[in-house]
């Protein structure tokens, strides 16, 4: 039983079948997320009510089978075996039922209290695939419900059937028949373990794992059902294999083969496909992955997203900035009226001005970039990127799925680091974690966009197009650095050969535009903005204090700048910029605003909303195109922000790897900037 007497129901299914959509549709906002105890695997639980009864739903990680090859699949297997769920909803993809039934049939061997949820019925209908759920139900012996969770269809019926199996277990669930000689050994072995299991786990399932020599599963059984001793059964299984004349591996092939043959039989009876063979999907895939077209298509799409972001963000940025800065005067007057004029400097010129800058510079590009990017994600474009780039990552002895974590890093490096959980090999996962900060996150895009616009677009001509192209170039550079750093790591600290790699390429799906916009605005834009704003105001206050506290007539700011200036010059920048990068440690978003405040110190602070005023201010402080280039490079490659570092500490559980994650990009960035600065001195 779950919390407060709620019925505990597990949700299981292959990856990419819309399991989370079903979970979200059923539980709505009544969810809590976290990690599975002792694992770096995300967990989600939620509650829902049906017919006056409370259910607690547990969303298990996507799994292809219960044979467990990854931490996710282990969690799923252990929860289904020992979690105490009173029913299991197995979510299947109607367009790919045969593969999905493999997992469903395996779960049926654990418990008869199963409801098969055949999801994506709408997509199947579009592709002219008809699934006869009644025939399937007759053959499987457990309830089968067709749903389209994205449209909310069929969910009510799903809960009704869950209610049914919780009340009474189906009496004749389908049992996969194995070859006769194997069956008799399974039968004999399951009788002998049944006594010891005492109903806590299905005996037939355990006997099969014993015959397969599935040590990981048997260890889990031993651990969860102690003081049970399964060693005698191991010997019995070995004898049984000798009788059969089969190796453990041959037993496993026979078992999986029999399950798939059963799945074939079920699909032959219940799936009627008249799928048009026009090959349109294939043509799109061949274009996106073609020898000559694959990489250019990817870059073009990325450049298009940047173009729309730069082009679209200009005007709203200006409007927001005008509106927010026009509030400064009333704010100051209000403070005067309250008799707190002394607060005007730190609060208005320090905290508020930085906050206004961050909001007006960050919000518009984020509100455009995030939805566009989420749209690409929703369509199913990102796995194709991983597919295209796998060759490069393999040559660097890393995993192709690292490309997916790089894509997540565009949004937020902390999210990218958490996303590295999709990589099974611990070595390759560490490589992906350590190099994720080399990908510019959304906090750094505004700086890149602004400096490109101020210093390079005019010279290049072509406005937003050339800006987008230059930004794409920087992304290619950061990808190159990621590959270089990955290669370096796997040649030194994380030596090893690339491990095996399977990646599913799900079909392109029609994006849910409305939901994408809502999700990206709330989950990403507002979240990142909130974090930046929470840091920007205090940082603005600190920098105002640094600029205005002047023991001995020289401000703290000036002292700090002077201290850092030699190193800054070596890197093609100056002390003010390094100070800004240091103070921007909690959030990259505030680096440029802080630098501007630093330059303007002492003077009556110029309002810095206008692009022209900003360009003038920077030029007055000795900026050239070379300075701008070095700042952009250092923004791409320097220490990760504090949130990302904390996340790395949590994910790796090691202070040493965290320190390396800080040093690696910093060293790369310093080397690169010093090189560019030296080149500038020679050329200029």
């Amino acid at each position: 039983m779950g919390l407060n007497g709620a019925r505990l129901v597990a949700l299981a299914g292959n990856p990419n079948v819309g399991k989370s959509t079903v979970f979200n549709a059923l539980t709505g906002m009544r969810q809590h997320t976290g990690n599975w105890p002792g694992k770096t695997v995300a967990s989600a639980r939620g509650t829902c009510r049906h017919a006056g009864r409370e259910y607690e739903l547990v969303d298990t990680p996507g799994a292809y089978s219960l044979n467990a090859h990854s931490a996710e699949e282990e969690v799923t297997r252990d929860f289904l075996c020992f979690g105490g769920a009173e029913a299991v909803i197995v979510v299947c993809d109607a367009t790919c039922l045969e593969r999905n039934l493999n997992l469903a049939l395996q779960i049926l061997e654990l418990t008869p209290r199963v409801v098969l949820c055949v999801n994506l019925m709408d997509e199947a209908a579009r592709r002219r695939i008809r699934v006869d759920t009644r025939a399937l139900e007759r053959l499987l012996g457990v309830p089968v419900v067709g749903t389209s969770a994205r449209g909310g269809r069929g969910l009510e019926r799903l809960l009704e059937r869950v209610d049914e199996v919780v009340g009474r277990a189906p009496e004749h669930p389908l049992r996969v028949a194995y070859p006769p000689e194997l069956e008799s050994e399974v039968e004999r072995l399951s009788r002998s373990v049944a006594l010891r299991l005492d109903g806590r786990l299905d005996a037939r399932w355990t006997a099969l794992r014993l015959l397969e020599g599935n040590d990981a599963a048997l260890d889990a059984v031993q651990a969860h059902l102690s003081p049970l001793d399964i060693r005698p059964a191991l010997q019995a299984a070995q004898n049984a294999r000798a009788v059969l004349g089969m190796s453990a591996q041959q037993v496993e092939t026979a078992v999986v083969g029999a399950i798939y043959r059963e799945a074939e039989r079920l699909c032959a009876a219940a799936v009627h496909s008249q799928e048009a063979q026009d090959g349109r999907r294939l043509r799109v895939d061949r274009l996106l992955t073609g020898r000559l077209t694959g990489i250019p298509a990817m870059l073009l799409l990325l450049a298009a997203v940047f173009y729309l972001t730069i082009r679209g963000a200009n005007l709203p940025s200006q409007l927001l900035s005008d509106a927010l800065f026009s509030l400064e005067a009333p704010l100051s007057r209000a403070l005067d009226a309250l008799g707190a004029s002394w607060l005007r400097g730190p609060l208005v010129e320090g905290a508020y001005r930085t906050l206004a800058w961050v909001v007006s510079v960050m919000l518009p590009p984020m509100a455009i970039f995030f939805p566009l990017f989420t749209l690409l994600e929703d369509v199913g474009f990102l796995p194709r990127v991983a597919f295209n780039l796998d060759g490069c990552f393999k040559r660097c002895h890393a995993c192709g799925k690292q490309a997916l974590t790089v894509c997540m890093g565009f949004g937020c490096n902390a999210a990218g680091v958490v996303g590295c959980r999709i990589i099974d090999s611990p070595r390759e996962r560490l490589i992906a974690i350590l190099t994720n900060a080399l990908t510019p996150c959304n906090g750094r895009f505004p700086l890149l966009i602004q400096l490109i616009t101020l210093f390079f677009v005019g010279a290049l001509g072509g406005g937003a197009v050339s800006g987008a192209l230059m930004l794409t170039g920087l992304i290619v550079l950061s990808l190159g650095m990621t590959l270089l750093a990955s290669r370096l790591l796997s040649a030194t600290l994380l030596r090893g050969v690339p491990s095996a790699f399977t990646l599913e390429l799900p079909p392109f799906r029609r994006p849910q535009v409305g939901r994408v916009i809502v999700r990206s605005v709330f989950d990403r834009t507002l979240f990142v903005l909130g974090r930046a704003a929470a840091v920007a105001a205090p940082a603005g206050l600190v920098i105002w204090l640094l600029a205005n506290i002047a023991p001995g007539g020289v401000s703290l700011m000036a002292r700090l700048n002077a201290l850092l200036d030699p190193l800054g010059r070596l890197l093609g920048m100056d002390g003010v910029l390094l100070t800004a990068f240091l103070l921007g440690f909690p959030a990259n978003e505030i680096v440029l605003p802080l630098a501007v405040m630093g330059y303007a110190q002492g003077n009556a602070l110029a309002q810095t909303g206008g692009a022209l005023a900003l360009r003038t201010l920077l030029s007055q402080n000795g900026w050239t195109e070379w300075t701008a280039l070095c700042v952009m490079l250092f923004s791409l490659f320097h220490w990760p922000c504090s949130t990302t570092l904390l996340t790395i500490r949590r994910e790796t559980g090691s202070a040493r790897w965290t320190a390396l994650a800080l040093l690696l990009p910093t060293a790369l960035g310093m080397a690169l900037c010093a090189l560019v600065a030296a080149a500038a001195r020679v050329l200029a």
């Binding site: 593969r99 083969g257 063979q277 294939l282 060759g391 790699f501 399977t502």
Partner: protein, 83 residues
């Protein structure tokens, strides 16, 4: 009998088996490369590796050295039920 990695794009075959005893062999069985399964090589990455295979209605990308573990034989008829 051939290895899956030697099958040209656009061609179909039938799986004979996945001999060998590693985690990857188990994974290949789980995603559907079991004896008798029809498999089609659909397309390849720009560098020629990995390749995408249609098996049991899903598209799975495999690197060349992983696809080598799958033994296939020519299909009796071409399987192109995919769009």
């Amino acid at each position: 009998m051939n290895a899956l990695c030697d099958m040209p794009t656009g061609k179909s075959a039938r799986v004979v088996g996945v001999p060998g005893d590693g985690a990857m062999n188990r994974r290949l069985l789980d995603v559907g490369f079991t004896p008798g399964a029809a498999v089609t090589c659909l397309f390849q990455a720009p560098g020629g590796d990995p390749r995408a295979y249609l098996v049991r209605g899903a598209v799975i990308a495999l690197r060349r050295e992983d696809a080598r573990a799958v033994q296939v034989e020519p299909a009796l008829r071409e399987v192109v039920a995919w769009a």
